[in-house]
């Protein structure tokens, strides 16, 4: 098999015998003609299969080392599809630091449809094992969590899950297959918000599920085709276009994160930095067992005696105050007021979200400019 970077650039060819187009065309047709009645055709209706979507699905299956992949209109549509393969009465162990939108779909949607969930800190294998019940069907977790970047090695959860005859489902949004391929470490299903690193340009909402094994793939395909939350042909093309530069972007993003962290380490009043890609910081040893790097997101805590965090985020110029992550442009977020605002202050503190916690999603700009931006914002935020 060709190397990873080669597979980023070369999509499986879909139509090359017709025109030779180097970029897979955007098949906008909703329906496909049968040459004659009873003919075996690959495509008949665009919800069931589309050549442009199929190209990026085959590519993602290859990049994650899975058998088949399915793309959806958003990350949440992908997560929904991965969980919709279960039935009422099934129980799933979930990470207690997973993305808030996943919590919402779990507790406000699937719970009402008869699924049961137990949330645990997946870094604690004993806690995960203790949560497994006779009707447990899967462990769903994020190998690196948001915004505290807690690391759970995939192989540990996968081995435990398989010992109990259940599935390991991994949300790999935070690392992407460039940095971690959970299926190679025993996971059975991988989900992505492809809106983040995979598409990488803040211009496509997309999700993906990558499955190991035909049986599991068929269950996910059934949901994709039956419910139809598919990714449009144009967005499939934009996603594929983003994937081509995945490794270039992540390499630059990680370089920039490291440069910013070196700068922050020298500043007074930075209480803590969360980034498992740095050998000096928590999670590094666990991350390095399986992943090539920690990605472009890191968090830090401003000492609230020294800095006003609200003034800090309001004073940044290059870092846009916006949700999402993983794109070419840098973003910043204040979890206590934005992503985790629904939690009470007490719940926030239990979850490790302090008022001074800042989450950076670093882009591919010049590191010196990003550091200068943070420097001037820190100066303005000084009490």
């Amino acid at each position: 098999m060709a190397g990873f970077n080669t597979r980023l650039v070369h999509q499986p060819r879909q139509n090359d015998n017709q025109t030779g187009a180097v970029a897979v065309p955007v098949y906008k047709a909703t329906t496909f003609a049968y040459p004659k009645i009873g003919a075996q055709v690959k495509y008949d209706y665009s919800r069931s299969g589309n050549p442009t979507r199929n190209a990026v699905e085959e590519q993602l299956a290859s990049l994650e080392g899975g058998d088949r992949a399915f793309v959806f209109a958003s990350g949440m549509a992908a997560i929904h599809a991965a969980l919709a393969i279960f039935e009422a009465g099934d129980h799933i162990v979930i990470g207690d630091q997973i993305y808030g939108g996943t919590f919402r779909i779990v507790y406000q949607y699937f719970k009402d449809r008869g699924l049961e969930f137990t949330a645990v800190d997946t870094r604690d294998l004993a806690a995960v094992e203790k949560a497994i019940q006779p009707n447990t069907k899967a462990v769903y977790f994020e190998p690196v969590t948001n915004p505290l970047l807690q690391v759970t090695p995939v192989s540990e959860i996968a081995q435990l899950a398989h010992r109990h005859g259940i599935l390991a489902i991994t949300d790999n949004t935070f690392l992407s297959p460039y940095l971690l391929r959970p299926l190679e470490y025993g996971a059975d299903l991988v989900v992505h918000s492809a809106t983040k690193y995979l598409a990488g340009h803040s211009d496509v909402s997309a999700g993906a599920v990558i499955a190991k094994g035909e049986e599991l793939a068929d269950r996910v395909y059934f949901v994709q085709n039956a419910i139809g939350g598919i990714l449009s042909p144009e967005d499939s093309n934009d996603l594929a276009r983003g994937i081509k530069t995945l490794s270039l972007r992540l390499d630059r993003q990680m370089e920039n994160v490291q440069a910013i962290i070196e700068f922050l380490k020298k500043q007074a009043g930075i209480a803590k930095i969360y980034y498992p890609g740095d050998p000096d910081l928590a999670g590094y040893d666990d991350l390095r067992k399986e992943a090539k790097g920690a990605g472009g997101v890191f968090s830090c805590e401003l000492d609230k005696e020294i800095y006003d965090p609200v003034v800090f985020v309001n004073s940044l110029n290059l870092f846009s105050l916006a949700v999402s992550l993983g794109a070419v442009e840098s973003l910043v977020e204040l979890p206590s007021k934005m992503s985790h605002a629904e939690l009470s202050e007490e719940e926030q503190l239990t979850a490790g979200i302090k008022p001074g916690l800042i989450r950076f999603a670093v882009g591919i700009e010049d590191a010196a400019d990003l550091i200068a931006d943070i420097d001037q914002a820190l100066a303005k935020a000084k009490r």
Binding site: Q14, N15, D16, N17, Q18, T19, G20, A21, V22, A23, V24, P25, V26, Y27, K28, A29, T30, T31, F32, A33, Y34, P35, V41, K42, Y43, P51, T52, P233, E234, N237
Partner: protein, 292 residues
């Protein structure tokens, strides 16, 4: 290179873009690819631009579809899709050399006159104006230097109507090599096909009725003569102001409803004109209508 299509106008536009490519999509895929694989060196070296694709400036599948569809609708030999209506005007006038003369109708889109003045100032190409009335006056304006006669019918804004066949006959009697070019933006091929009435070249601002949704800029040129088609092709790929694949795809999509839209435009315009004819403060209203 576009064969005559005997199907009705409505059928041609409804079927535009329905292709057989293995997947048999009913709507043509959008080919954003800038370049195209050649199966081997021999095919790359002896590449046939009429059969295949090599580079998106030269041709794209989507542009080829919209160009072929318009060539059919205008009953011409080849169509060219460019980035704007003015790019189409420029393409048509690319046959002119310093010292050449053009006879033009005196009531045209202002952008045309602006470009005519540019050609006069920079290349000493002379433009003579005809008022669209007596053919004797037109004949008097022709000279051995005349290369092209430019018409717009109906004209904008005065709605002058010109008999294309009579003009083409008069011009070609004088010299069959003079090109008669007609801007058909106002009627579209749904109401008027200048190439069937003796004209040599048809021009469109596709931004108007052909596009019809105020979401694409485009220009179309359709010609009858293969030699002229080749000249325009060489010029287009040299200047490179071609219509993008996406705009070509959208324009093809727009064409499918062109008959419906034109019928409604005409019905609505007629009602408004009837209203204005009753209105006490309107001195004159002009409407030209074909086929209803």
């Amino acid at each position: 290179m576009t064969e005559k299509d005997n199907r009705s106008f409505e059928t041609i536009v409804a079927e535009a873009g329905s292709i057989k490519d293995g997947a048999n999509p009913v709507a043509q895929p959008l080919y954003l690819s800038a370049c195209y694989r050649h199966p081997d060196l021999d095919q790359a070296v002896n590449f046939d631009r009429l059969q295949g694709f090599t580079y998106s400036r030269v041709e794209t599948p989507n542009r080829k579809t919209v160009e072929g569809t318009l060539a059919k609708l205008e009953e011409g030999y080849q169509g060219f899709a460019v980035a704007s209506g003015m790019a189409a005007v420029q393409l048509v006038l690319s046959v002119l050399k310093t010292g050449d003369e053009v006879v033009s109708l005196d009531d045209l889109y202002g952008g045309d006159f602006r470009y005519f003045r540019h050609l006069e100032d920079h290349f000493q190409i002379k433009f003579k104006l005809w008022n669209g009335e007596a053919l004797e006056n037109l004949r008097e304006l022709l000279s051995p230097k005349t290369k092209l006669v430019w018409l717009e019918t109906p004209s904008n804004p005065m709605m002058k109507s010109v008999d294309i066949q009579a003009v083409a006959d008069a011009v070609h009697d004088y010299n069959p090599d003079i090109l008669v070019a007609v801007d058909n933006t106002f009627y579209t091929p749904y109401y008027q096909k200048p190439l069937t009435q003796g004209a040599d070249v048809v021009i469109h601002s596709a931004t108007k009725y052909l596009g019809g949704h105020n979401d694409i800029l485009g220009g179309i040129v359709v010609v009858k003569d293969p030699v002229l088609a080749d000249f325009y092709f060489q010029y287009t790929i040299t200047v490179g102001d071609t219509m993008s694949a996406f705009d070509s795809w959208l324009l093809t999509r727009s064409l499918t409803t062109l008959p419906l839209r034109m019928q409604q435009h005409t019905a609505s315009a007629k009602k408004i004109v009837s209203f204005l004819e009753q209105a006490p403060h309107v001195e004159k209203s002009s409407i030209q209508a074909r086929r209803g």
